[in-house]
């Protein structure tokens, strides 16, 4: 049986080893996989390199949602705006129900080669009463388009309440 001191030493050594591994892992992970949130304005100013994953958020610009088919796979294009810049987005997949024109949205993805468009791999939806993600709120405030101090955000339903299907019908017809 070992003494209390020796046992404590063992525990301290185990904790130290575990903690240092954890810190090392975190530092490596932070360096390689931290993704930044960018507003359209920032994207337009900084031109993030192609393939670097970040979150793009803002308002889905009204009348820009177009659906199409490429090699049998459907895709959606729309523009995300913060009022001072607007970035074209291509998303292949099923949009969540709360995705609407004129409403806040957060997408995860990367810029395509040649800085042309944002290739989104994920589009996120929230279940709050009004979807104004905090990142988007910050982006809008920085662009000077909306400040929560002066009341709630413009009612999304009043901006444009067409569903993607209706938009598609109107854009094709």
């Amino acid at each position: 049986m070992m003494s209390r001191k020796k046992r404590r030493l063992w525990i301290v050594v185990a904790c130290g080893l575990g903690l240092s591994t954890a810190v090392a892992l975190m530092l490596v992970a932070f360096r390689s996989s931290l993704s930044f949130f960018m507003s359209p304005q920032q994207v337009a100013a900084r031109h993030p390199p192609a393939g670097q994953v970040f979150r793009l958020g803002g308002i889905v610009q009204a009348n820009t949602v177009v659906m199409g088919t490429r090699n049998g796979a459907p895709y959606t294009t729309f523009r995300i705006t913060d009022g001072s810049a607007s970035i074209p987005v291509v998303y292949t997949g099923v949009l969540p129900g709360l995705f609407r024109q004129g409403q806040g949205v957060v997408t995860i993805g990367a810029m395509s080669e040649g800085d042309r468009e944002f290739l989104a791999s994920t589009v996120l939806a929230k279940h709050g009463a009004d979807y104004m993600p905090r990142d988007v709120e910050m982006a809008l405030r920085k662009a000077g388009k909306w400040n929560p101090k002066f009341g709630p955000p413009p009612d999304a339903g009043a901006w444009d309440d067409k569903s993607p299907a209706q938009i598609e019908a109107s854009s094709n017809g």
């Binding site: 796979a73 969540p96 129900g97 996120l124 929230k126």
Partner: protein, 657 residues
């Protein structure tokens, strides 16, 4: 009228909670038997009042009383009855009232079933619970009152958010909250023990069942939440490392550590200070889980919106509860002397290893979750820490945990030898290596690691159970009989580990998923993962408060029909919101997952098809874990301390070994 009564009952409950905290904490100092007996009665009274208050809110929702702001904003006359009821807690104010109700239920449970606990300790426990619940009821009444009225009332309510019109809302929040709040009892025991300055084996035996109950509810709650998120589009799948998910995982990690360390307190009277700290940390993290997300500090997909003054109140309340208990811990912890010596290679040693790694993982998850808000606060930079960070930082840390998990239960207390335990496991190791090799050859590195780990844990748990019933060493019938005579805690532990292994199996299997997105016209089909998916027709359908488009998909394999799937898109007219209802069919080892994104203008539609191998095992494993906890709870040593029997046999009521 009824909502006013509900509001009144809420105020009364607050008054009772204040009385309960004063009487409960001051009572034992006065040494008055009458006063000591008052705390349980007050706790029950508080629960009854809050219960009435909650029922009043449900009632207001059921009869669509739109003078109540909460009902007007989150319900409507066209909402089906089921969602008018569940909508009560489908919003910020109502969900906090539910939270308080469950907290008072915890107090009442201690009041009713805690007869075997020494009166002074029980009084202090109830006092601490009263203090916590008083604080949060004050919050409800002051800044987040669900009974607030509006006049004139609107004709129609705004309706429950379509995404929340799901059976998941009926199950997930109450169960998750029970898990969160249940840890308040372990917390109250820890604080009471710090006030008394005494932690012994009996303390471990009282705390463990309460911690176990809340742990199993938390496990189920996380499971249901993950399942709900899995079939809801836009929430990122079964686990997204979203802040809300992380803050539920944090108390689960420390709670898991607590139910393991409490064993050591109970059996060996060691790790006492540590267990007290864990109990405080677990409830503190539970509080963070419920409220940090609501304070607006954390940014999440799943959060309710809250106003800034609510956020400040919550942060002050959190600081008081967590800071106060930690301060008490700092002053009083040295009083709790350790005893019980053991070697590093022993059951205690393995449990310490478990604790170290669970807490380190919790620390990593905590850092990842809290880093973005602090960076935003200090440097005004917006970053997000997503799945890749956790995959890189957390998954390697689970490896030693998984390795130790199969070996730990086979070590004996105090001092053990590694070799005999390892010889029992050699063929399990070989099996795990074979699985690893098979998947590495196909180029699935992550899946190979995960599946091998899962096989190691699952088989390890089974070997442990087989050893305990002496399978193949005594006749089979006797082995079977032994299943009922060995301690149920041992069976529970094996099942818990088994469940964890099965969940790891599911998570690893998910990394092998395949999917495709296609536009199909009726009659067209595509092939995915050996299955043929054929669109038969798209028809209109109607729900209680939505209109829908319903697609019929035939899934066949080698010409034989396997399943018919009916994914839908729904359009909720009240809120002008479209939702996508996925169709999922499972055969137990893989899920077929179809979503229908909407019609196109040529009579067809846009579809996403997924095949998720082993996905059902994620939730099956979680439920097995919870079942293990439940079986552990029926262990003899918890039942023997049962209130009625102990009162008959020994008036002092101290639990027996």
């Amino acid at each position: 009228m009824i909502p006013t009564l509900g509001n009144f009952a809420l105020a009364l409950a607050l008054a009772i909670a204040v009385a309960q905290s004063v009487v409960g904490i001051a009572g034992p100092m006065l040494r008055d038997r009458q006063i000591l007996r008052a705390a349980p009665a007050l706790a029950i009274g508080q629960f009854v009042m809050l219960g009435l208050s909650f029922l009043a809110l449900v009632w207001a929702g059921v009869v669509s009383d739109f003078t109540v702001r909460n009902v007007a904003e989150y319900s409507s006359s066209t909402t089906p009855l089921f969602y008018r009821i569940t909508g009560t807690w489908g919003n910020h104010d109502g969900s906090i009232l539910l939270w308080c109700l469950i907290l008072s239920l915890c107090g009442a449970t201690v009041g009713i079933f805690g007869n075997s606990i020494p009166t002074s300790l029980r009084s202090r426990v109830l006092g601490v619970l009263g203090l916590v619940s008083g604080g949060f009821m004050a919050f409800v009444i002051a800044v987040s009152n669900p009974f607030a009225r509006i006049w004139p009332p609107p004709l129609h309510g705004a309706g429950v958010n379509p995404i929340l019109q799901d059976p998941g809302l009926a199950v997930h929040p109450p169960i998750l909250y029970t898990g969160y709040v249940g840890f308040s009892i372990a917390f109250a025991f820890a604080v009471a023990a710090l006030i008394e300055g005494r932690v012994d084996a009996a303390w471990g035996r009282w705390v463990r069942p309460w911690a176990l109950v809340s742990w199993l509810f938390l496990t189920c709650g996380i499971c249901f939440g993950s399942l709900w998120s899995y079939y809801t589009l836009g929430w990122g799948g079964f686990w997204f490392w979203d802040p809300v998910e992380n803050v539920a995982l944090l108390p689960w990690l420390t709670g898991t550590a607590l139910i393991h360390s409490a064993i050591v307190v109970e059996k060996r009277e060691a790790l006492k200070t540590w267990s007290v700290l864990l109990a405080i940390a677990t409830f503190s993290l539970s509080l963070c889980g419920t409220f940090l997300v609501r304070s607006g500090l954390l940014n999440s997909v799943h959060a309710f919106s809250a106003s800034p003054d609510q956020g400040l109140f919550i942060l002050v309340l959190l600081a008081l509860t967590i800071g106060g208990s930690l301060l008490l811990f700092a002053f009083r912890a040295p009083v709790l002397a350790a005893s019980g010596v053991f070697a590093p290679v022993s059951r205690e040693g393995a449990l310490i290893l478990n604790n170290i790694f669970l807490c380190i993982i919790a620390a990593v998850v905590f850092t990842g979750t809290m880093y973005p808000p602090f960076l935003a606060l200090l440097f005004n930079r917006q970053i997000s820490v997503g799945a890749p960070f956790y995959d890189q930082a957390v998954l390697p840390l689970t490896a030693p945990l998984i390795l130790a998990m199969a070996v730990g239960p086979m070590l004996s207390w105090k001092r053990a030898a590694l070799l005999p335990a390892l010889t029992k496991l050699w063929f399990v190791a070989v099996l795990a290596l074979v699985v690893f090799g098979a998947f590495i050859l196909r180029g699935h590195f992550v899946a190979a690691l995960g599946l091998a780990g899962a096989v190691w844990v699952v088989m390890g748990a089974l070997v442990d159970l087989a050893e305990r019933v002496r399978l193949f060493r005594i006749p089979l019938g006797q082995s079977f009989m032994r299943l009922f005579t060995i301690p149920r805690a041992a069976i529970g532990a094996s099942l818990g580990h088994l469940g964890f292994g099965i969940a790891v199996l599911g998570i690893a299997g998910m990394s092998l998923q395949t999917h495709t997105i296609r536009v199909l016209n009726p009659g067209q089909s595509i092939d995915l993962g050996g299955y043929n998916w054929k669109l038969i027709a798209i028809k209109p359908a109607t729900g209680p408060n939505y209109s829908a488009r319903d697609a019929t998909i035939e899934v066949s394999r080698n010409g034989h029909l396997v399943q018919i799937l009916h994914p839908e898109t729904r359009y909720f007219t009240d809120q002008k919101v479209k939702t996508v209802a996925a169709a999922i069919r499972s055969n137990g080892v893989r899920n077929l997952f179809a979503t229908f994104a909407g019609d196109n203008n040529s009579g067809g539609g846009e579809f996403r098809f997924n095949i998720h191998p082993l996905a059902p095992e994620i939730w099956l494993g979680g439920l097995i874990m919870a079942l293990g906890g439940a079986i552990s709870l029926t262990d003899r040593r918890f039942r023997v301390g049962a209130p009625v029997r102990s009162r008959l046999r020994r008036p002092s009521g101290s639990a027996t070994v």
